[in-house]
Symmetry: C2
Subunit: 185 residues, 2 copies
């Protein structure tokens, strides 16, 4: 039984990891269950013994993608070097590597308007991830609430806009403007 439980858990995690990568790049309607299951090494029929719908998978995929990106800061909020870690997190967030990542990008940025069009459960998941990140940043930086929200809007908005732009020079201008705004506070 332990083995079978482990096996089911492993399958579930493979599916979620594949979904996180695919959904953050192509959005809810841009991904189908065949693609997710093929990337997880299974076929479509197996999907419904793990999730009750595509929508439920999407929520789990967002949580997975967000926790991968923010894991260290979340697990070590009172690390004495948290300021440094926040700095690393920010520059990684605004990097070309994040913008052009082949694994899962931050769902708060990559899926912001995609989420606005989905059902309530999905929007509530997005809201919890956003709130959680705001609390982490606030705890680690001791900045005021308004400033935390402003920085998050700049980072999330900057990445989302840069990804939409077809002009690389303009992409860099936007990211650079965002970096400068975070520095001069």
């Amino acid at each position: 039984m332990a083995w079978s439980k482990d096996h089911k858990q492993q399958s579930r995690e493979k599916i979620i990891a594949a979904a996180a990568r695919l959904f953050t790049h192509h959005g809810f309607d841009g991904v189908n269950i065949d693609q997710v299951m093929a990337e997880a090494g299974m076929t479509r029929g197996a999907f419904y013994s793990h999730f009750k719908s595509k929508s439920e998978l999407y929520s789990e995929a967002m949580k997975h993608a967000a926790s991968r990106r923010f894991r260290y800061a979340q697990e070590n909020p009172q690390d004495p070097e948290s300021a440094l870690n926040i700095g690393k997190l920010v520059s990684g967030y605004l990097s070309d590597m994040h913008l052009h990542t082949e694994s899962s990008g931050c769902p708060l940025a990559f899926l912001v308007t995609d989420v606005a069009q989905q059902d309530d459960a999905i929007r509530e998941t997005y809201t919890r991830l956003f709130s959680g990140m705001a609390e982490q940043v606030q705890g680690a930086s001791k900045a005021k609430r308004d400033q935390v929200l402003q920085n998050m809007v700049m980072m999330i908005g900057g990445v989302a806009i840069a990804r939409a732009l077809a002009d690389e020079g303009l992409q860099q201008e936007v990211l650079s403007a965002v970096k400068n705004s975070l520095r001069t506070e």
Copy 2:
């Protein structure tokens, strides 16, 4: 012939206006051509004598939605009261009316991650609209390039994020933080 040309032009504009409203609310994959044509008072078959594809319509709809929102500022860049008009544009942009509009919202905010998943022609349309708006704001406000881009990221990002959030209190906090950031410069 003049009458027939007018008639075709009117049909085309009805289609684009309907598409602007539907696409900004539901995204590319959330809208089908039947819905657009029904709202324009026609049926599906007529669509392809106006546009060669759904993708082309989406580009036209974005241009239409953007020009509706920014028309005055675009047509009167050197109006002596342009500063006032920019102020009105900003507070309208960050208002609940814009967030919950039933007509077309700003495509730069409402469609930012939707566009990132579409073809090059669509991303280039988005890029031109973004650049055009940046130049208008820069011309009217005489602010530095970095500051113009920062304000645009704050406004577009703020509206996009607020629309994704399921919690009205948090929506208001985000919009309020964005307004405060624009005020103190």
